[in-house]
Amino acid sequence: MNALIYALLAVGTVFNGLGALALIRFPDVYTRIHGATKCTTFGSIFSLLGVAVYGIWQGGGMGGTMAVRAFLALIFLLLTNPTGSHALARAAHRSGIKPFRAVVDRLEEKK
């Protein structure tokens, strides 16, 4: 069981690390949001699954509470993250930030 928890945490950490690397490597705000999305999806899904498995393994009231709340945190994260990313991207585009080296920008053409 310990091995499973460590594996989940390791996968989560690797994806979170790649997300952080994406923030440095990618050229503009939109592509960096792609990198941040990666953190929230696979990074936190696997980390929180690790917490949930640990909770189930511990058992009892404490462990059960931990597992249930980890799942709830995951659900709320997945519901609210896209809303925030979208708000950031829309605000960036409205304030006139062009996507870097974009091959096409249909939203700019619309205006």
Binding site: R25, T31, G35, T37, R90
Partner: protein, 171 residues
């Protein structure tokens, strides 16, 4: 009358979420009495404060059990699969730096707010695609795509099975 229905539906949903949050606080994995009381008060306050906004556009179809079941299938099957693929793809792009970004436009023909929100959230949650804007009049989606393969794509090019699922679950 409509107000009361809105408040009641919101209070019941908020209370259900609170019950899940507070499991295992009492004996036998149930709820402690003070937790139930706190949950009731919080659910009522939340309902009175937000009830009229939650159902403002008359989206009562969220409550149909059939849609919940379909949503559960979606969240356990096609969605994680697409997300896993996109995650690995973007991970590879982070390492190699091979990107071809652009904002593309497509029209998935969704009419309701619920369907559009559903699809936009699914798109944004998948790494590599990001909903920048939705035209409320025509229903056009403007999506920032990290690897533009087609400058005038169909909805299926950008987000695979998501539009048909959005139609099934939310329309």
């Amino acid at each position: 009358m409509r107000r009361v229905a809105q408040w009641t539906a919101t209070a019941v949903l908020a209370f259900a979420v609170y019950l899940v949050l507070a499991t295992f606080t009492g004996p036998w994995g149930l709820w402690a009495p003070d937790e139930l009381l706190a949950g009731l008060v919080i659910a009522l306050v939340v309902a009175l404060a937000t009830g009229m906004f939650v159902w403002a556009r008359g989206d009562w179809r969220v409550l149909q059990p059939k849609r919940w079941l379909l949503f559960l299938v979606y969240i356990l099957g096609p969605f994680p699969l697409a997300m896993a693929k996109a995650n690995l793809d973007v991970a590879w792009r982070v390492i190699t730096g091979k990107i071809r970004p652009g904002i593309v436009k497509f029209n998935p023909n969704l009419k309701t707010d619920l369907g559009r929100t559903f699809l936009a959230n699914s798109i944004t949650l998948t790494p590599g695609t990001l909903t920048v804007d939705v035209d409320e009049g025509t229903g056009d989606f403007y999506v920032h795509w990290i690897n533009v393969t087609n400058e005038s794509p169909t909805p299926e090019d950008v987000c695979g099975p998501f539009p048909s699922w959005a139609r099934r679950v939310a329309e």
